[in-house]
């Protein structure tokens, strides 16, 4: 029964949600929204679980003085610091505004989080340049096609090309609108069919990975 009941719940819920999609009735939509509410509630609990897991892993790392344990202290300080700065507790320290308007919260977000995120993302420019230099080699026909396509896409931004620029722009638009779009659509359809197949396997109880080791 320990195995049969979850399988039955998944089968009934899965079939219901699949059928519900094709029934445009108010009661059907009501049940759908009810289920969606539960999805959000589970999502919120998952966030709490994530924080608990993060704190547990960080504390373990600090206690055992594992490699780079100092970073865990910074990470924990960041998490709890932002919670404190954004909460009403700050009123006890003379803060006039709390939440997103809190002076400390706003300043940490604007002058620490934003620059850190932007810097990390910006490092991509350096790695892309290095990777392009090392990996973009015309060692086969397909690699040459990829190389030429990439060059055309990059060159479309270039204002130094003069009248040739228009043709490069048209070429880039063609690459994006036809080969790129066709490939992406094919991948998208493939992913969609794969998802349907996996969903069917879960509903029919063939795929039981979600139940843990089985």
């Amino acid at each position: 029964m320990k195995r049969e009941i979850p399988l039955l719940i998944v089968f009934v819920a899965g079939c219901f949600m699949a059928i519900q999609f094709f029934v445009p009735h108010a009661s059907s939509e009501y049940v759908y929204e009810f289920v969606m509410d539960w999805t959000i509630i589970i999502g919120v609990f998952a966030m709490a679980l994530g924080i608990w897991s993060f704190v547990k892993v960080s504390l373990n790392k600090i206690n055992r003085r594992q490699e780079n344990w100092q970073y865990s202290i910074v990470a924990m300080a960041g998490l709890f610091g932002m919670i404190v700065f954004g909460s009403s507790i700050m009123k006890l320290f003379g803060a006039t505004q709390v939440g997103l308007e809190s002076y400390m919260f706003k300043h940490f977000f604007d002058y620490v989080i934003i620059p850190l995120h932007a810097t990390t993302f910006s490092l991509l420019a350096f790695y892309i340049a290095s990777a392009a230099f090392r990996a973009f080699k015309a060692h086969s026909l397909m690699a040459t096609v990829l190389l030429v396509s990439a060059l055309i896409i990059m060159l479309r931004f270039n204002p130094f090309l003069g009248p040739v620029g228009e043709y490069v722009g048209d070429g880039a638009a063609w690459i994006l609108n036809y080969p790129n779009m066709a490939a992406k659509r094919a991948i998208g359809i493939g992913i969609g069919l794969g998802m349907v197949a996996t969903a069917l396997k879960v509903i029919l109880g063939i795929e039981r990975g979600y139940m843990g080791s089985d």
Binding site: I114, A118, S130, L176
Partner: protein, 305 residues
């Protein structure tokens, strides 16, 4: 003075690249730190000496601009700030340009975010663009903000049928029934246009799949460059047009400048960023060419050996 600095920088880059080319013709590898140094000089000098190029909008961007331009006054437009600070430099200019365009056309603006980190960025756009540049705009009548709601795709699946089931109040705690902008709005289907801005999940793709397509609402996403090719398959039916990366944002800014004199002094971060981006692309292209010369040179040397 500015041009002297710029030409000097370009001169250094060109001479450096020629030196590297000469070095690679001998079949020798280039240290990655040299590539990093060139990227740094290129981006820094373009930023320092403010290199800007004129932009001409592509059809895919022009369609978005024309859609907002041709909607009748008072149309309902929803903007979703679904991004984090990492994407901010790339997509925030789009968000601000959309806000400006919607407000100047006197459309009704509904602002929200599906990302926790998007809330502060959404407020930044309201506080630094909407309020100072459109002081006559009244909250609740001309624009409203729903803020952040956890739930991702779940939120979209609910607002496609009813906003009030997901948002009891707006960002400030005012019940939706007390906000004039929501008087005739039940669900996302009542929007005339949705402008989701972002590059992750949930983001523009989810807006198309769970709101735009089933609700028959026109969607025009603003995207980080890395995800723009992924959204192309949805153009032109599910996405009426799209803005891809800094280039898309720059094209949109240039259209605003071309069509509205009142924006001639506005901040144009995307146009400013196109200079460094263009120069960085040229350097990357140069390195790809040098890399291939080295590769073929080495292959020939090995064949001869």
């Amino acid at each position: 003075m500015t041009n002297i600095g710029l030409y000097f920088s370009i001169g250094i880059i060109v001479i450096g690249l020629l030196a590297i080319l000469r070095y690679s013709l001998k079949g020798k590898d280039i240290d990655r730190r040299i590539i990093f140094l060139f990227m740094f000089i290129t981006v820094a000098s373009s930023l320092l000496f403010k290199m800007e190029f004129p932009e001409k909008p592509t059809l895919i961007v022009k369609k978005v601009f024309n859609k907002i331009e041709n909607l009748p006054e008072g149309s309902r437009i929803l903007i979703s700030f679904d991004f984090d600070p990492a994407m901010k430099p790339e997509v925030m200019p789009m968000a601000n340009a959309f806000v400006r365009h919607c407000m100047v056309k006197k459309h009704k603006l509904y602002i929200m975010t599906l990302w926790a980190t998007g809330q502060a960025l959404m407020l930044e756009s309201i506080e630094e663009v909407l309020k100072p540049e459109f002081p006559d705009a009244v909250y609740g009548e001309d624009y409203t903000s729903l803020g952040f709601k956890a739930g991702g795709v779940g939120v979209l699946n609910v607002i496609i049928t009813d906003f009030r089931k997901m948002y009891a109040t707006d960002e400030h705690g005012t019940p939706l029934d007390e906000i004039p902008l929501f008087a005739e709005v039940t669900s996302a289907k009542d929007m005339d246009l949705i402008l989701p801005i972002g590059g992750g999940a949930p983001g523009p793709k989810e807006w198309i799949l769970f709101v735009g397509d089933p609700g028959k609402v026109p969607i025009a996403p603003g995207l980080a460059a890395v995800v723009a090719p992924l959204i192309y398959p949805y153009y032109p039916k599910q996405a009426i047009g799209l803005l891809g990366g800094v280039k898309g944002a720059a094209e949109y800014e240039s259209e605003l400048l071309r069509n509205y004199d009142q924006f001639k002094d506005m901040d144009t971060p995307a146009l400013s960023m196109m200079g460094p981006q263009t120069m960085a692309h040229i350097v990357i292209i140069a390195f790809i060419i040098i890399g291939n010369i080295t590769y073929f040179r080495k292959r020939r040397m090995n064949d001869n050996a």
